[in-house]
């Protein structure tokens, strides 16, 4: 069918082509709105093609230019990258469909601009996923930040502008001031930035300096929303819901944790981290973030704000897995990228659907609305269960593996943290559902039906369910990550 080379080109360029075409297709809204989902399907096919090749043990490569010795503009797909590429492109199809419904249903302005930048963001996410070295990763990480700024500030209100400012200052600031020096540090001490199975920092840098370098990465990647640099994420909630989906599930935060996982697995090497204990501090910091943000989430009445804090908490699961740096924990963390993406995008789709159809944003207003929007609430329920980690849903795999990893590495306290956080999850994620179904109505609202915002969450909810049974594909890829 396609050669690997072509597949990579298609996967990287299709979203960009969509972005460039969007303004021209805008003469007919249908053309413009169809471009996103079609581009998504094409990208997804390419991503599947690439992922299958990776599963066969290949490393698809795409060389663009040589910048300086040891520095190339090159794409090379790692198993982890293949997974992230699948997540980003696959969810883009649904997110694109959904945003059409949302934007139309909500009568938002500047829909063309929105669609174009959305596609650019997906392009950047694909490029991050398939990047061949840290430099390329860094560049597209930045492009991702810049391309999502117009999306975050889409409403152009003072509130949106302030949120955009915070978003940009934290993400750009941390990456330029911490991440870039970290990248340069790696290059200067090893002469290369390529990703290699098993990592290559062992023996190249002083083990005493390793925690510092790791800290530069952990805090430099603001998108991983590790406390205390998490503030941008709740602030960005002012954006339209499809953007939140993009931020939380498809691209932005996933690019953050993807970067951290990549650095841990392919640059540091989990053996190196485990031997030196350089990531010990990160285990505790992420555990703290998990609990603290769950606590904050409980106090939020705004649906999206609660989901945002939930995301911060879930991201730290992934960082935690990376920090534990054992084979099983890293696999768990990788799976959690997939599972959380499917679960969280469902929740956001539902939140958006509730807003578009009933104009409700507060959890306290949801009482009794379950019967008005049964499909939406059912999807929400399934997504929530997946994130909590209850079988038979996808999220249970990743959480289980993380717990096993924690025990294996002797972090028994962490097991307690994970358990406690699951309990908190149960409370703050299931509360909206139980209110919807079991409480009497407090507010009568007119519910208008918009199928385009209902179908995607139902599909992603089903996806969460399927991921439990068909996890092998991802699990196999994740396993490839740690076999060097």
């Amino acid at each position: 069918m396609m050669s690997l080379h072509t597949a990579m080109l298609v996967g990287l360029l299709a979203p960009l082509v969509v972005a460039i075409l969007t303004p021209f297709l805008a003469v007919r809204h249908v053309w413009r709105d169809a471009a996103g989902p079609i581009g998504g399907v094409i990208t997804f096919i390419a991503a599947v093609h690439v992922a299958l090749a990776v599963l066969d043990g290949e490393t698809p490569r795409l060389f663009v230019a040589q910048i300086a010795e040891g520095l190339a503009l090159e794409f090379a797909v790692t198993p982890l990258g293949a997974i992230f590429g699948l997540v980003a492109s696959g969810l883009w199809i649904l997110a694109a469909l959904y945003s059409v419904g949302y934007m139309r249903g909500n009568h938002e302005k500047h829909q063309t601009r929105f669609a174009a930048f959305y596609a650019v963001a997906v392009h950047a996410a694909m490029a991050v996923a398939w990047s061949g070295n840290l430099l390329v990763l860094f560049v597209f990480y930045e492009i991702l930040t810049f391309s999502t700024y117009p999306l975050v500030t889409h409403k152009e209100s003072a509130l949106a502008r302030n949120a955009g400012r915070l978003y940009m200052s934290i993400l750009v600031g941390t990456s330029v001031v911490l991440l870039l020096p970290a990248v340069v540090w790696v290059w200067l001490s090893t002469g290369t930035l390529d990703f290699r199975p098993g990592g290559y920092l062992a023996g190249q840098i002083d083990p005493a300096m390793a925690p510092i370098l790791l800290a530069l990465f952990a805090f430099g990647v603001g998108k991983a929303a590790l406390m205390p640099i998490h503030r941008w994420l709740p602030a960005a909630m002012v954006a339209p819901t499809p953007v939140s989906a993009l931020l939380h599930a498809v691209a932005v935060v996933k690019a953050g944790v993807f970067t951290i996982l990549t650095v841990v697995v392919y640059v540091f090497g989990i053996d190196f981290l485990a031997e030196t204990g350089a990531a010990d501090w990160l285990v505790w910091l992420s555990a703290f973030t998990i609990l603290a943000s769950s606590m904050v989430a409980i106090t939020k009445d705004d649906i999206k704000a609660r989901l945002a804090y939930s995301t911060i908490s879930q991201l730290s699961y992934i960082v935690l897995g990376a920090a534990i740096a054992s084979s099983i924990a890293v696999q768990g963390a990788t799976l959690h990228i997939v599972m959380h993406a499917a679960g969280k995008i469902t929740l956001f789709f539902c939140a958006g659907a509730i807003y578009v159809q009933a104009h409700l944003t507060k959890i306290s207003e949801l009482d009794g609305q379950g019967r008005e929007m049964p499909w939406v609430f059912a999807a929400f329920f399934i997504g929530a269960l997946s994130i909590i980690g209850i079988p038979p849903l996808g999220g249970s795999w990743s959480k289980f593996m993380l717990m096993v990893g924690a025990v294996d590495s002797g972090y028994l306290v962490i097991l307690g943290v994970l358990g406690l956080s699951s309990l908190l999850n149960v409370y703050y994620l299931l509360e909206p559902v139980s209110r919807g179904f079991f409480r009497p109505k407090v507010k009568t609202v007119e519910v208008t039906s918009h199928p385009l915002v209902v179908i995607p969450p139902v599909l992603t909810a089903i996806l969460s369910l399927l991921l439990f049974f068909y996890v092998d594909f991802f699990a196999a890829l994740a396993k490839l990550m740690v076999i060097s």
């Binding site: 230019a65 300086a68 955009g164 330029v176 990248v183 290059w187 200067l188």
Partner: protein, 499 residues
């Protein structure tokens, strides 16, 4: 036959063409024609520089005897890989700045003065080329004065829109004259102990010269004079006002090429003239120039953070960037000097683009560009502002831009010398520079334009050259092979004893 004559006379051509076109430009009554003349002058220089570069690429060193009088009796021009790289950078950016000048000058300078304006423009450019090529210590002073006086005129022309330009021009004149006189005093001492004015000849005679304190002081005064011209902290005080109040076109040209020539001359003093007495150079570099460079980096960056006027902000930033170049050169290792040369080229691209874009803003706004007036300009002038953003990212040193390559090689050169304190300082200052860039970008892109603001018109005569420079920033960020290779050769040529 004709071709060969042109080829052998390339070095002279490079200087003489702009200088001799100047009088013609001065008497041209039509602004457009004068501009064409300036464009032709800088264009020919650029071609000549490229040809020289291709000749010197193989390590060839061209010695051109003016009037066929052999050195040290006559005056000599020397072009090696170091000077040819500097010349290519200067003439290339000079050409692009001229290209962008058309519209900026039409707006800011009275039509009647345009011919004379371009005459002064050509004089600056020609003078700077001469500065780079001449191998005669006193002849260098003459070129220094040509370019300085002509620069003063150009800066003074800013009085058309802001009277403070006059004061800036006056200060540059006086400070520059004092600097040049210091240089002449230094040359006097070296002449007294060697009996020669030719740089190569000086270099070979200095090790045997009974100099004593005269040698040290001569060296010191020559360096001090050029430090003023290169605007190295703490004698940079003339620069922020001069670049800040000069007409936009002039800021572009000066920021891109003027201090580069002086920095190159400094390198020549260190590594060619005093190659035979390395102990003096080493002491001066590690104890004086390195601390001054680092000081300049910090002072420039911090002043830029507190500056609200955009032009002056980036003028302060130039002080900091010059500090990076000087730091690279002062490391005196092959890696350090090539890092310095890489940044000479890249900084010219960055600042050239930034000042062109500011010129575009000023032209459209009809007012000085300050944090207040450029509020929300990102959406009002997207073409110009995007190019400005690219150059700004390059200044911050983001990957895939030229600025990243500079920082990378500079950091590596510093690491090679194991000076971790300097490395830390460079990294901190580099992070600080994000602050003022952020301030500008935030105001431009993230704040709404003031209500009732008129529509701003973007002019292709400004943004086309601007985008050429902006794309240059990306091009040399992705394919840095040419500049890195040329800079390595330059370092080899300089450290190879020169002469």
């Amino acid at each position: 036959m004709m071709g060969a004559a042109i080829l052998t006379n390339l070095p002279a051509l490079l200087v003489v063409v702009p200088l001799l076109l100047a009088p013609f430009s001065a008497v041209l009554p039509i602004a457009g024609l004068a501009w064409v003349l300036a464009l032709v002058g800088t264009g020919i220089s650029f071609l000549a520089a490229l040809m020289l570069q291709s000749v010197t690429e193989n390590g060839v060193r061209i010695s051109y005897h003016l009037g066929n009088w052999e050195p040290p009796w006559g005056i000599e021009f020397v072009v090696d890989s170091a000077s040819s790289l500097t010349l290519v950078v200067m003439s290339g950016l000079g050409f692009l700045a001229t290209l962008a000048a058309r519209r900026l000058v039409a707006i800011e300078i009275a039509d009647k003065d345009s011919g004379k304006f371009y005459a002064a423009w050509l004089l600056v450019v020609g003078g700077l080329f001469g500065l780079v090529m001449t191998a005669d210590a006193f002849n260098l002073f003459v070129f220094l004065e040509i370019s300085a006086l002509a620069s003063v005129i150009l800066i003074g022309m800013g009085a058309g829109t802001d009277r403070r330009a006059l004061v800036a021009g006056y200060h540059y004149l006086v400070i520059g004259a004092v600097g040049a006189t210091f240089y002449v005093i230094g040359v006097g001492f070296i002449y007294a102990i060697t009996g020669t004015l030719n740089m190569g000849d000086m270099a070979s005679r200095l090790p045997d010269a009974a100099g004593g304190a005269a040698l040290y002081v001569g060296f010191g005064f020559m360096v001090a004079g050029m430090l003023v011209k290169a605007a190295i902290f703490p004698v940079h005080i003339w620069l922020p006002a001069a670049y800040g109040y000069a007409p936009s076109a002039v800021s572009t040209m000066l920021a891109a090429i003027a201090t580069k020539a002086a920095l190159y001359v400094l390198a020549r003093i260190f590594f060619t003239i005093f190659a035979g007495t390395p102990e003096i150079v080493d002491i001066a570099l590690s104890n004086i120039i390195v601390p001054l460079a680092v000081g300049g980096i910090f002072v420039g960056t911090i002043m830029a953070i507190y500056e609200a006027d955009i032009k002056k902000m980036f003028a302060h930033s130039s002080v900091a960037q010059i500090g990076y170049i000087a730091l690279g050169l002062a490391l005196a290792t092959p890696a350090g000097i090539s890092a310095g040369f890489i940044h000479i080229g890249n900084h010219a691209l960055i600042k050239g683009g930034i000042f062109m874009a500011i010129g575009g803003f000023v032209a459209a706004l009809g007012a000085r560009a300050s944090l207040e007036t450029i509020t929300g300009i990102g959406r009002r002038m997207p073409i110009t502002a995007t190019a400005f953003l690219i150059c700004g990212l390059s200044l911050a040193g983001l990957p895939l831009t030229a600025g990243f390559i500079s920082k990378l090689y500079l950091v590596r050169a510093i690491l090679e010398t194991d000076s971790y304190v300097i490395l830390a300082l460079v990294l901190i200052s580099s992070a600080l520079s994000v602050v003022y860039l952020w301030k500008v970008m935030e105001v431009m892109w993230m704040q709404p334009a003031p209500a009732r603001s008129p529509k701003l018109v973007e002019n292709p005569a400004i943004y086309l050259p601007l985008w050429m420079v902006a794309l240059g920033n990306i091009w040399f960020g992705i394919d840095a092979g040419w500049i890195v290779g040329a800079a390595r050769l330059a370092a080899t040529a300089l450290l190879g004893g020169g002469a």
